[in-house]
Each structure stands twice: as C-alpha cells, then as structure tokens.
Symmetry: C2
Subunit: 269 residues, 2 copies
Amino acid sequence: MANPMYRQIAEDLREQIESGKLRPGQQLQTELELREHYDASRNTVRDAIKWLTTRGLVETRPGQGTFVVQKMDPYVTTLTGDPRGPGGDITVTAQYGEAADDQPRGIEQRITSSTIPQVEIQQAPAEVAGPLRIAEGTQVISRHQKRYVNDTPWSLQTTFYPMGFVLQGANKLIEAVDIQPGTVSYLADTLGLRQVAYRDWITVRAPNATETQFFNLPQDGRIGVFEIFRTAFDQTGTPMRLTVSVYPTDRNQFVLNVGTMPDSASPAG
Amino acid sequence: MANPMYRQIAEDLREQIESGKLRPGQQLQTELELREHYDASRNTVRDAIKWLTTRGLVETRPGQGTFVVQKMDPYVTTLTGDPRGPGGDITVTAQYGEAADDQPRGIEQRITSSTIPQVEIQQAPAEVAGPLRIAEGTQVISRHQKRYVNDTPWSLQTTFYPMGFVLQGANKLIEAVDIQPGTVSYLADTLGLRQVAYRDWITVRAPNATETQFFNLPQDGRIGVFEIFRTAFDQTGTPMRLTVSVYPTDRNQFVLNVGTMPDSASPAG
DNA sequence: GGGTATTTGTCCGTATGTATT
DNA sequence: AAATACATACGGACAAATACC
C-alpha cells in the first residue's frame, strides 16, 4: 500500500478543489456517489472527507451534504498604535485578495460593537497574576465583553484590573456599564495613571467550548484561536491592566508597524 | 443519545488528562483495553481517540500506543525592535510557566542557526508582488533558509528582493552565501538603502507538505503555522524586501512592545 | 404540521496491513 | 520470528438533521 486509498481519494478531491474544478460553496457528490465513483466503501470515503475537513478544505452539513469551504474575508487588526490611546480599540480593514477576485473590493464598511461588560471579582490565576506582577490569588476586577463586526462574532475580550483601583476611587470599574470615553482616560482622570506603553503577547491555542459556540467554529476543534495578552503600563512602569482577547485564526490577521511608515504604505498596497 | 458515546469516552479521558491523573508523556490504555473498559467497540474508542488527537491532547504511535502529549517549552520571539536593525534577527527567550512547574526555569540557553541560503530567481506571485508594490510576474530574488534553535527546526524563512538591486550592484544577493554582517547593512553600503521601518503581517494557516515534514508536525494538519510577512521600507518609503517566516503555532509565541517600556518589564515578569 | 426521501453521523463486527518492540 | 498495537478497509444497521412535498 504505497498510499492508503482514503488518501488517494482525498488528494483527488483536493486537486479538484485547488484547481477550481470544484468551486467554493459547491456541493460535492454524496458519500454514496463517491463510494461508487471510487469503488470504495462508504467508511473509506468518509475517511477521505474527514482528511479534507481537518485541512479546512470542505465542510459537512448533516442532512445536506459536503461542501467546498468559502474563505471569509479576513478581519485585519493593527496591534501597534498610540501607546497612550485606548489599547482595546483597533481598526479593521480589508486585505488585498489572495487570489482570483476580479472586483477590487477596497476598504469594506465595517461596524464594530460590543456587549455591556460582564463584571466579576476574581482571584487572579497565574496567567493574570504574572503579567500584572501581583501574587497569584490576589483579587482582581474582570470586565468581559463580546465584540462583533457587522453583528457577526469577532472576538471575546476580558480586561483585568488590580482590585486596588476601586478602593482608590475608580468605582466605575466594578459597574457593568461602558466607561466613556474609555477606561484609559477614566483611569488617568481618577487615579492619575497614564498608560505610556503596552506589551502584546500573541499565542495560538485550541478553542474551548464557549469560544467554539460563540464563534461558530467546527466542533472538532481544528481551527485554533489567537489569544493575545495585552499588558499596559503606567508612567511608573507598573502594569495597570491586562486585556486578553481571543480571535479565531481562520478569519483574523494582525498587522504591526515598527518605525516611521511612509504615508502611502497601507496594507492594501 | 444526549451525547455520542465516543464523545463521552473522549470527555472522560480528557478530564483525566487535564486533572493530571494522566500525566504528559504517559501511555493510555490500549484500544482493546479501553474497548473493554467502556464497553464499546474498538472503532468507537478510536473515534474518541481521534477527537482527542484533533485537540492536541494525545498522540498515537503505531506499534507503541497512545500517549498524552508533552507540551514543549514555547519559543518566544519579539517582533518589535530597532527598525534600522536586521529585521530577520529576533531574540528567543523562555516564558513564565503556564502552570505547576516548581522550578523557575528562567532564561534557557538557546542557540539559533541557519542553513546556507537557497537562492532562486522567481516571478513574483501576488502575495509577494503586492507588498513589494511591483507588478505580478516581475522577477524577484528569493533567498530561502531553514532556521534551527538548538538544532531543532524552528522556522522556514524566505526573503524576496527586487531584481533591480542586483543590477544596481548588490551582487551578493544572488550568491548562495550568508551575507555578513547582514543584508540590511549590505544594502545600505552598496545601494544606500536605509531600512527605516517595517510592517509585520501575521496570519495562521494549515501547513503544507514541506512544512509538515520539516517541523515534524502531525500528518493530519491540525496544527497550524504562523506565516509572518515582514515588509521593510527604505528612507523613501519604498518597500525594499519582503521576508516571509513560517513557525508552527504549537511551540511559538510572539511579543511586541509599543511605547517606552519600563526597564524591569521582561516577559518573564 | 406531518410525512417522506435524502444525506450525514454514530456504532458495530470483522479482517488484514504495517510499525514497533 | 513472534507478539503487540495502531492503521486501513469492508459491510451493515440505525439515528439525526435537513429539505421538500
């Protein structure tokens, strides 16, 4: 057996997909048809389809069939910005197309929105205590939001603040309302904390059940999520917040700029 | 059927793994043993194991058994640096542990090395032509390297330069040798091109066959790879190179700093 | 709403191949 | 060479989701 049969079937279908013979969104033959076509058992055909599914080339819909996946237009987020600005706010633009899209789609109109923050008092786990440089188990304020672009789920975001901020007068932090014009300027006004820098830590991991549901990711967990830890520092060099943002890897990209970029240098080149 | 049996088996094993009852590296019961334990068929047990495999919790070795995966210590790469420096060179440090590691491992000694560049003249595909702002199909120089940390595969890197650089006198670009002390200063010396800024574009995608082999990734493609496009700009704002680096997502993390970081702010906290 | 046909999902048993010890 | 363990492949049965009449 040079190559297992299910692999040969999978490669054959893969070629048809990548050559464009099978177009995005198009339905494949049913398992029974493929079974006849390749003279294999249904389970072997299913193994081939599973192989393609793991690679993100096709998706199966119970009761309907198997379809070539439609690649979404990715959301592009710029991570570098004014360190004194609201670190959570980031721009979303379109990228230049990877392939055969005739119409130049340019910058698409996109509107971001967030849910009302869900506020909790928690004991800081290691991942939170470490960046904030506090002892594990210390109480922290956690403000959690779901974020949408054009009403479709975009990211899950949780920001952690030291509990002391509230005791020192930043009462709004424990209220389940949006803080306008932003927590960065709110903390500057109430506590005199100026955000002068931040550090982003970018990782990829498998999604948990909550994330799988919110982002409508495939059940089998083959699509990972970016997990970005943003630690912001005040003028004394002390961490003042930790924002953890989660984005699916299949439809998000990130850009960072270092140095003085020329004016014309837009991602869309 | 509230939950399919294979899911129940998988969840049970998952709990044992995450609770630490099954330790990293430890061998699970064989399929036949699990078959007896859960009173299911071997195929159903295999479905459960496949579910765990897709999530990166276990790995199977033919002829040996099924094992709880060992999480590698991640490589952490800082993306922000001096925009005038050699953009390809980045530091690698250890992170603070996610969980119960008693010994503070601090900064581990790591040595990076690269293969001799593999040099080619290519016609720029869209992904290269776009960032370099040249027409698709224009000739470019491609310099490809494999990079290692402590002799283990770390990243695959390809840098593209406009063909004109050679015609203007930067002959070394088409030689299959390392350019010392770096191409950035070489281009500054020969062509007067000063790198004043760069932009990184971070994406995640499925690995191709070459990458799967080089990084020794699982065949089923469930582990993605970071693909980072670094476009560097000269003093006139013209793109002078595009470096594409590929890293497996399961053992690489990235850090970026914005603003003036306090001295003590190291990733290891 | 109900019923039926279609399609994928789950589960079983069995046989044989391949890799490792 | 033999034993063990996972990989591939087959065939069959029923369940669940969807679409359509």
